[in-house]
């Protein structure tokens, strides 16, 4: 039992980092989408390792279930041409590397300045505390989140709605406009 935690952590880390790299580097978009689902699934394992089973369940339901399906719909509705450019050594690469390094340095310094608390809560059973916090201290943000979801749903429907056919035809297309 002593070694099970670190071994699981190493395995999940390999899967998460490998899956993330695969999302960025894969040539086919469908491969990227399925590797993204794989990464999210391993992230749920990481949450279980941390003792937050409720968050892990939400992760599987929302990320692996809903968001991956939405992304796959996006893949289905858009044309997929093979990537016609190299991923590295574009003209922005030196600037991108510089900015990423500048951003990563403080993150590394801050990340390794944290240490575990002396007395840790018992792992598992986070549902009661989470639900109590959401419905007492965070009740107002919870309601605001529902409004956000409603407006996002209405906005998505309005954005993709087709123009009704009975409308008068729009202005003729601008010949200057590139197709």
């Amino acid at each position: 039992m002593d070694v099970l935690g670190p071994i699981l952590f190493a395995f999940l880390t390999l899967m998460i980092v490998g899956g993330g790299l695969g999302v960025v580097l894969a040539g086919r978009i469908t491969t990227s989408a399925l590797l993204m689902a794989f990464t999210f699934l391993n992230m749920a394992g990481m949450f279980v390792l941390l003792g937050s089973e409720t968050i892990a369940a939400f992760q599987v339901l929302i990320y692996v279930g809903a968001i991956t399906v939405l992304i796959l719909y996006g893949v289905m509705f858009t044309p997929q041409t093979p990537r016609a450019y190299g991923l590295f050594f574009q003209k922005q690469t030196p600037w991108g590397a510089l900015v990423a390094a500048l951003a990563a340095l403080p993150v590394i310094v801050v990340a390794f300045s944290f240490h575990d608390a002396a007395s840790l809560p018992a792992p598992g059973g986070d549902l009661n505390a989470l639900a109590t916090a959401v419905f007492t201290s965070f009740a107002f943000p919870f309601e605001v989140a529902s409004v956000l979801l409603l407006s996002a749903m209405v906005g998505a429907i309005v954005l993709v709605k087709r123009e009704p056919a009975s409308r008068p035809p729009a202005a003729p297309p601008d010949p200057e406009r590139p197709v």
């Binding site: 070694v3 099970l4 998460i16 993330g20 999302v23 960025v24 978009i29 989408a33 993204m36 990464t39 992230m43 990481m46 949450f47 390792l49 941390l50 937050s52 409720t54 968050i55 939400f58 992760q59 929302i62 990320y63 809903a66 968001i67 939405l70 992304i71 996006g74 509705f77 858009t78 990537r83 450019y85 991923l87 590295f88 991108g96 990423a100 951003a103 990563a104 993150v107 590394i108 990340a111 390794f112 944290f114 240490h115 575990d116 608390a117 002396a118 840790l120 986070d126 505390a129 989470l130 109590t132 916090a133 201290s137 943000p141 956000l148 979801l149 996002a152 749903m153 906005g155 954005l159």
Partner: protein
């Protein structure tokens, strides 16, 4: 049982976050950029949960924030895909380099 230390989780979170940043910067397909943003959001979720479980001062607040990040991620991907589809209907491309009508 030996516990994996907190900085290890933060390191994994930061690594995945910067993989997502690289994806946003180097890919030009709008759908893949959306996937990379999701990777970044999920990396922050790992940091939130790790702090929530391992720092005494954080308490349950980290987990509550993760729930709100889930909400925002779901709204973001729905509206983002709607925008991509609307742009695709106007011009048949999802390459962000070719969606340059607002370029001065």
């Amino acid at each position: 049982m030996t516990l994996v230390p907190l900085p290890a989780f933060i390191a994994v979170s930061a690594t995945l976050f910067f993989i997502g940043v690289a994806g946003v910067l180097v890919r030009r397909n709008a759908v893949v950029i959306l996937m990379s943003v999701e990777l970044m959001l999920n990396a922050t979720n790992l940091a939130f949960v790790a702090f929530s479980r391992r720092l005494a001062v954080a308490g349950e607040r980290g987990s509550v924030f993760v729930v709100f990040v889930f909400v925002v991620a779901a709204a973001e991907v729905a509206v983002g895909l709607a925008i991509i589809l609307a742009a695709y209907r106007n011009r048949p491309t999802v390459d962000v380099d070719q969606l340059d009508e607002m370029k001065g």
